[in-house]
């Protein structure tokens, strides 16, 4: 048998591709349905609301009025674009401050009329740029985190591809945070982590594994509420089935949230984030004044 003919010298077998990297490639698959595909498939009467009424209308963020099984709701999702031209125009899906401010404006609009809010997230991160810094990217994200924590309506966030750091979290301080099976949710991209921590961008697969950012790991760490199964091989293999699977979960979670009083909902949301990721122990006091 061929198995016994291995050379005597050290085998030059490439290390196996980590599961986290396989998931990363699925999360970034170019044929994968994007947030707007879910919005179009799962909601009716979508009517887009443009602009933040302060600076502009971010082409990387969509928000508007819609209906979910007949019920009025707000929907928000970032936009990535399919063709290269559209991708460039949409900054590969990375919002600027005005995108986050538009999203918050529509959330407050929904809150005013008591309608639930759905967000869909697939972005590598908030846009890093000169204009983004001039217009307060940090302030825009921070404001969304604070305001989302106290919105007086049910909120459900779904990561459908990449959940990239603060730019994703700015749409995900929600009563329910859901991740599709082959998605990632991370504090930093594997490429960025590799170049900073390993000083070598080619170590991205190792970084991907080390960051434990797959849906399974993030759920195990208690940082999301639920993981949604995908069709065999990923959402791009059978988008219609994927939409139905997401639809089912959103319907279940919304019903559960709407069976609670708003005060109970706010208390539960606060308790969830107050007690999230408490990875510390109480040790001796090292500090001396």
């Amino acid at each position: 048998m061929a198995e016994n003919t291995a050379p005597k010298s050290a085998p030059s077998v490439a290390p196996p591709v980590p599961e986290a990297w396989v998931k990363t490639e699925l999360a970034r698959h170019p044929q994968r349905p994007y947030p707007m595909d879910y919005i179009e498939a799962l909601f009716t009467d979508f009517s887009e609301i443009h602009g933040d009424r302060q600076f502009g209308d971010d082409p990387a963020m969509a928000a508007g009025m819609a209906r979910f099984h007949g019920q009025p709701v707000a929907v928000i999702g970032n936009l990535k674009g399919r063709s290269l031209k559209e991708r460039v125009a949409r900054k590969f899906g990375s919002p600027d401050p005005e995108g986050y401010r538009k999203a918050l404006r529509v959330m407050k609009f929904a809150e005013k009329y008591g309608h639930p809010i759905f967000t869909f997230i697939d972005l590598a991160g908030a846009n890093p740029g000169l204009g983004a810094e001039e217009r307060g990217q940090g302030e825009a994200i921070a404001r969304n985190l604070l305001e989302m924590s106290r919105l007086r309506v049910p909120t459900i966030a779904t990561v459908t591809g990449e959940g990239g750091s603060g730019g994703a979290l700015a749409l995900a301080v929600a009563d329910r945070v859901l991740m599709l099976e082959n998605t990632i949710y991370s504090v930093i991209s594997p490429e960025g982590c590799a170049s900073i921590m390993w000083k070598d961008a080619s170590k991205k697969q190792q970084a991907a594994a080390a960051l434990r950012y797959t849906a399974t790991d993030v759920k195990r760490l208690g940082c999301v509420d639920d993981v949604i199964d995908e069709p065999q091989g990923g959402t791009h293999n059978d988008p219609a089935l994927a939409f139905e699977m997401v639809n089912k979960k959103l319907t279940q979670h919304l019903a559960a949230l709407q069976s609670q009083s708003i005060e109970d909902l706010l208390a539960a949301r606060y308790a969830k984030f107050r007690n999230i990721a408490q990875f510390y122990t109480v040790a001796g006091v090292a500090a001396s004044a």
Binding site: V187, Y280, T281
Partner: protein, 281 residues
Amino acid sequence: MTWFKRDDNEIQPNDDHEVKTEGLWVKCPGCRKTIWKADIDANLQVCPNCGHHFKFSARERIENLLEPGFELVDLDLVSTDPLEFTDLKPYKSRLAQTQKKTGLNDAIINAVGRMGDLDVILSVMEYGFIGGSMGAVVGETITRAADRALESRRPLIVVSASGGARMQEGIASLMQLAKVSSVLAKLDDAKIPYISLITDPTYGGVTASFAMLGDLNIAEPGALIGFAGPRVIEQTIRQKLPEGFQRSEFLLEHGFLDAIVERKDLKSYLAQSLKWMTEKA
């Protein structure tokens, strides 16, 4: 996208910011003059010649802002390394090394004490501890400071100095942004004053959460403050960034700081502002 992050052993992009110590003399990056170190020490770590603000440690900051007799609290939390993270070396040994070097368990110190005649809660980040990065301990400690403010109805002051979220704690560090922002919403609802003092440097997830959420957001002169780091932005936009980019003065000009306050004036500024907020009509 990467958040700005400097680690102990990383080359600093701005050597501008390094304190070059040759014994008892320091070369000031502000005026390029060689200054007698004792003169800087006697002047709150500010250059007596040009006013350049050198970094202040968390302990120096607390002693500078609070009256004697303050109490340090919430110092006993230690990270459990939730990801069992290892890059070129294990995070656990990086932590142990930094704990030994700094005498702190993590990059933050909470203190309760008096500022003038006001009782306040102070939470101060320590940049010397893994670049002031925020993991589960920093997030929880700031949240506990906010809890103390809520329970006692005393004002909260948070002093930031941070490269951003702590990468070695992955998604757990990202969640700290949500946690701290949620408790700050409670403070806001309860009308308990919160002032954010942003110091050099403050980046990433810290800028994108509590640093920008104060009733007042103030900074010392010349501090570097931003969301994305300058190198990441330059690589993305492929052009040089303007002079003074992401300095306090740049943020003030663009409307994201309420005031720039020199170190020597900070305590009186804070006390006066808090009085304004809490005084009954």
